[in-house]
Amino acid sequence: MAKKNEGRSFSWGIAIVIIVALFLVSSCVAALVSLMSADGQDYSSSSGNVAIIPIKGTITTQGQGGLWQDESASSEDIVALIAQAKENPRIKAVIFEINSPGGSAVASDEISHAIEGLGKPSVAWIREVGASGGYWVAASTDHIVANRMSITGSIGVIGSYLEYADLLDRFNVTYRRLVAGDRKDTGTPYRRLEPDEELLIQQKIDVIYSYFVEHVAQRRNLSEAEVTRLADGFILLGVEAYDAGLVDELGGLDEAKAYLKERIGEDVTTVSYERKSSLIDLLGGIVSDHGFATGEGLASGLRRDTGIRI
């Protein structure tokens, strides 16, 4: 449709409507892009000299946390953030803000190795919970600060699961066992666990437990005997952990910053290193691949997860 311009008058009302419409389009696009581009955050130009990396929720390798799932700490993401902090010359130290009941032994170990390879001073700041795998990670830092009421400790491994064999029998449901490799379905909840199988699984749990004890003993400068005495799997409050030598200082962020100020010899300005959830993360969630996962321990409360966790 062509119009001649003669006689057409400029209408500020319509002009404003057009501007508002374009503004709304811009806002929608910007919001969408912001959500979809959560990865690849670049902290190289940030002004802080101490990075704060959060470790919140169950520790898993790939994380989960859509709109309908609990928050989890992905070792993939955290290791990437640690690498960024390591490569950034402005960052002189890292504070790990821990609020985790534990999770996957593999994921906890991945984070621990990354912390140990950081090459810069690090502090674990335990908030409400830093237990089991959360404590495994904290033990890798140079200094652990916890609130006197923080839940920590829970040094142990859990592999408990619900066995439905009797329930299936009751309802005449048959478990058809088709395996190649006699131990292939060991630990399946659909049949009874035989004593020798229980022993085998227990051996695996004991191996992971020994790694946990060894790690804490090395990092906390305690004997394995001392750690084993503390490692009955039960939780310790922050004040108890401090008395037992598992925590260095009672306090919070201020204490963590004060420690680092002394270590790095300059005032501490923090910058948050955090992976933002993308739109895909929020809408669909990411299913964590637990694999041979370890149980969460007492501090986590009731969960549906099965498998071995710390």
Binding site: A2, V29, A30, V33, D42, S45
Partner: protein, 158 residues
């Protein structure tokens, strides 16, 4: 209201080709309007994608991530929509209105769009930034205006 609109006895109003200066000022005003009212939502998102280092930003722009490409494309499309819609509906943008110049001739949606393509910072459109001022100074019409059979005029009372 312009004195030219009063059509007083003894006065004649003629349309003259709008000067380069007025066109340029109207463009600056339009860009300011776009910046304030339409590009603002992208500011926070862009802050998260770009850094404070010019060198790093240039490196990013050489191989921009998908999100940044979407934003750049959106900025271009929104700016195109602004110039196209205003010229189609009113034969003048906000900037043109304020400096009292307008489009003369048949302004279809297509011709309004063609008149607006100079805003696209891609080849071959950015060549218009050099070609158009030369053509306007020479005989008062830019290349898109020649293609669409329109011209940008200002009313003068003689």
């Amino acid at each position: 209201m312009d004195i030219a609109d009063l059509d007083l006895p003894g006065q004649r109003t003629v349309s003259m080709v709008a000067s380069v200066g007025k066109r340029f000022v109207s463009l600056l005003i339009d860009l300011a309007v776009l910046n304030l009212a339409v590009f603002a939502p992208f500011a926070t998102t862009l802050e998260g994608m770009l850094t404070q280092s010019v060198t790093v930003n240039m490196a990013i722009m050489e191989n921009p991530p998908l999100g940044l490409q979407v934003i750049i494309a959106s900025l271009i499309l929104v700016a195109l929509a602004y110039f196209t819609l205003f010229q189609f509906f009113f034969a003048q943008t906000i900037g043109m209105r304020l400096v009292r110049i307008r489009v003369e001739g048949k302004v279809s949606l297509w011709s309004a769009f063609v008149r607006s393509v100079f805003i696209v910072p891609l080849f071959p459109f950015y060549l218009l930034w050099v070609i158009d001022p030369i053509l306007i100074i020479k005989d008062g019409r830019s290349l898109p205006e020649r293609i669409t059979g329109t011209r940008t005029v200002e009313k003068t009372v003689i």
